[in-house]
Symmetry: C2
Subunit: 361 residues, 2 copies
C-alpha cells in the first residue's frame, strides 16, 4: 500500500478546500492513509508531513504498522491532542470532516486550543478522504477481488445445506463458520438470512424463524479480508414456486443485469440506477423497489459513491460498487440479487460471479 502517495493526495485535496492542515478521526480514513488498524487514532496532515495520535494501548502496534510519520501517544483524546499540536506548529486553520465530527468532539478539540484560536481554527470540510477512497488503487482492487471470491465460494455449499425447518440463525452460523475457516477475519455486516414472508424485509438479519417448505430464502452476506469488505446477495426458492414468485425473480434478475451492463466510466450514477429501475417499472414493480441500486464498498461496507436516482456524479475506472435491486411485496415475499462490480475501462467486471439463474431447491 502506498500510504505516502495517499497522504499527498489528501493534502492536495485539503489545500483545494482552503485549509493548511487536515485532522482526520474517521478510522477507515486513518487506516487508508497510514495502515494503522487500532480503534483509536487521529491523523493530521500538515506541510507535507503527517502524525498519528493514539493511546498507550496502541504504541507498539502504531509504530509497527506505519511508516514515514510521527506516532504520538496521548493519555486522553487523540483528536484534541492532535489539534493542540497543530496549533503549536503555527497552523491557523485546520480542516475537519463535517460528516465525521460530532458537536461534542469539536467542542473538546476547541477547548484544547489557546483561547485566541478557538473560534476560527477548525473549518468543516467535505469528506475529502472518503472521496479519494471511491477510486481503488491496484492494491485495494487485489484485496477486494480476494474478499469477493472468498464470499462467492461460500455460497454453493450453502445450497446443499438449506433445509426446511432449520432456523435462519443456524444458516448464518454455518455460513460464518465456513467464512472464518476459509480465512475471513470476520463478517463485514450482520448476515441477512430472510426466509418465507421475512424475505419481504429488505434488512431481515437472521432470526429464529425456520426456513419454510415453500418460499424464498435471501442470503445477503459479506466477509472481511485484510480490512476490506465483500458484499453479495442471492435469493433461492425452497420447494415449488408460484408463477408470481418466478415472475418477480425474473424481473429483479433482468433489472440487475441491466444495471451491471450500464456500468462504464463516465456514466452517471443515476443512469445506472435508472437502468435497473426502468426494468422494474415496465414490470409494474418499481414501487416495490424501495431502496437505491447500490453503494461503494471498500474499507467500509457502505461508502461513496451512492448509486441512486438522480445522482449526477459519474462512474470512474477503479470504483467498486454493488448493484442490488430488490422487490419487496409486504406480507408476501421479496427478492434481491446483488453483485460487487469493478468499473474497468471496458465496462463493469462482476467480482462475485456466482450463479444468478433461478434455483429451486
Amino acid at each position: 500500500m502506498n500510504h505516502s502517495l495517499r497522504r499527498r493526495r489528501a493534502a492536495k485535496a485539503a489545500a483545494e478546500a482552503g485549509v493548511e492542515a487536515l485532522l482526520l478521526t474517521h478510522l477507515p480514513d486513518v487506516r487508508y492513509l497510514t495502515g494503522f488498524t487500532g480503534s483509536n487514532g487521529t491523523v493530521v496532515l500538515v506541510g507535507g508531513k503527517a502524525a498519528l495520535f493514539t493511546d498507550g494501548r496502541y504504541t507498539t502496534q502504531a509504530k509497527e504498522q506505519t511508516k514515514g510519520l510521527k506516532v504520538v501517544t496521548v493519555p486522553k483524546s487523540a483528536a484534541a491532542a492532535a489539534g493542540a499540536w497543530l496549533a503549536e506548529q503555527g497552523v491557523k486553520r485546520c480542516g475537519v470532516v463535517a460528516a465525521h465530527t460530532t458537536l461534542a468532539q469539536l467542542d473538546g478539540m476547541r477547548q484544547a486550543l489557546p483561547a485566541g484560536l478557538r473560534r476560527s481554527f477548525f473549518k468543516p470540510v467535505e469528506p475529502l478522504v472518503a472521496k479519494l477512497r471511491e477510486v481503488k488503487d491496484a492494491d485495494e482492487v487485489a484485496i477486494l477481488r480476494k474478499a469477493a471470491a472468498l464470499g462467492c465460494r461460500l455460497f454453493d455449499p450453502m445450497l446443499t445445506l438449506l433445509q426446511p425447518g432449520m432456523t435462519e440463525v443456524e444458516v448464518a452460523a454455518e455460513l460464518e463458520y465456513a467464512a472464518r475457516r476459509a480465512g475471513a477475519s470476520g463478517m463485514s455486516f450482520d448476515t441477512i438470512v430472510a426466509s418465507g414472508v421475512r424475505s419481504s424485509l429488505p434488512h431481515g438479519t437472521a432470526s429464529l424463524a425456520r426456513l419454510p417448505r415453500r418460499g424464498f430464502v435471501t442470503l445477503d452476506f459479506g466477509v472481511m479480508v485484510d480490512g476490506y469488505c465483500s458484499d453479495m446477495t442471492r435469493t433461492v426458492h425452497l420447494g415449488k414456486a408460484t408463477a408470481a414468485e418466478r415472475e418477480v425473480y425474473d424481473s429483479v434478475l433482468e433489472a440487475q443485469l441491466a444495471a451491471v451492463a450500464a456500468v462504464r466510466p463516465g456514466v452517471a450514477l443515476g443512469d445506472v440506477d435508472e437502468a435497473a429501475r426502468s426494468v422494474l417499472r415496465r414490470a409494474g414493480l418499481d414501487k416495490q423497489f424501495i431502496h437505491s441500486t447500490g453503494h461503494g464498498v471498500g474499507l467500509e461496507i457502505h461508502e461513496m459513491p451512492h448509486v441512486a436516482a438522480k445522482q449526477t456524479a459519474v462512474l470512474q475506472e477503479g470504483m467498486v460498487i454493488t448493484i442490488e435491486p430488490g422487490v419487496y411485496l409486504a406480507g408476501r415475499f421479496g427478492v434481491r440479487i446483488e453483485d460487487m462490480v469493478l468499473v474497468t475501462a471496458r465496462g463493469g467486471e462482476t467480482l462475485t460471479p456466482t450463479l444468478k439463474a433461478w434455483i429451486e431447491l
Copy 2:
C-alpha cells in the same frame, strides 16, 4: 420492555436540560426508547408524545416493533424530516445530543427548517439517554444475564480445543460458530484471540498467528442476545509457564478480584479502578496496566459509566459494568481477566462466573 416509561424519563431529562423537545439519532437510544431495531431511525419526544422517523425499507418493521408512537416514513434524511416536523408543531427549541450529532447532520437538519428558526432551534445537550441507560431495568438485567451466561458456556469447550499450531482465526471461528449454534444473534465485537507475544497487545483481534507450544492465549469475546452484549476475557497458558508469567497472572487476578469486591452502590467509579490499580502498583506492574478498569455494557459493548481513575460519579444499583484489569509487557506477554458485574444492593454480582483460576493446558 416498558418503552413508554423510558420515554417519559427521557422527556423529563430533556425538560431539565432546558429544551421542550428532544431529537435522537443514536440507534441504541432509538431502540431503547421504542424497540425499533432498524438501521435508520430518528426519535422525537415532545409534549408527552413520541414519533419515529425512518425510511421505506422499515415501514412494516417499525410499525410491528413499536407501540404508542407515530411512525413516519420519509424518502431522505429521517433526522432532517424529524426536525422540520417539530418546527411545524410549534416547537422553538429542541435538544440534540452533542456526542451523537455530526456537524454535517446538524447542518442538514438546519437547512430543513424555516429560515427564521435555523440559528436558535437546536441546542446541543449531554447524552441524556445514554445516562438513563446506565441503570438497567429488570427486563434488561434478565437479557444481560442470558447473554453473559451464553458467553460463559462457550469457554469451557474451548479449553479442550486449543492446540499449539492452530491459528488464532481458527480459534475465533470455533468460538463464534459455537456462539451462533447456542443462539447468539452475533458477536458483540471482533473476537480477540491473542497468543504468545501477541498477548501483550491489549486489542489483538484474531490473526493468522499460530498458537505457541508455550505461552499465554487471551480470549476476549462477547455475544449478542436480543440486542444486548456480553463481554468477558480469560487468559490461559499453553505448556509450562515461567515463574514471571505465573506472577503476572496472579497479580492481575488479585487486582480483578479486588475491584469486583469494591463494587457496591455509592462507591465512586474511580475507587473501583483504584482497587485494581493499587494491587498492581504494589506488584510493580501498574505502569503496564495501560487502560481503564472497565465500562458499562448493554445495548452497546462500550457505554457509560467509565470505570476509570479519578471518576467521581458513583455506582448505582442496576448498573452492569466490566471489570478487566490487564498487564502488558511489550514484546513478551500479557494477561487480562474480565467479568461482567451487576451492581446489586449487596455488592457486585459476577454475571460471568467462569473459572478464573490459573489454567495450564
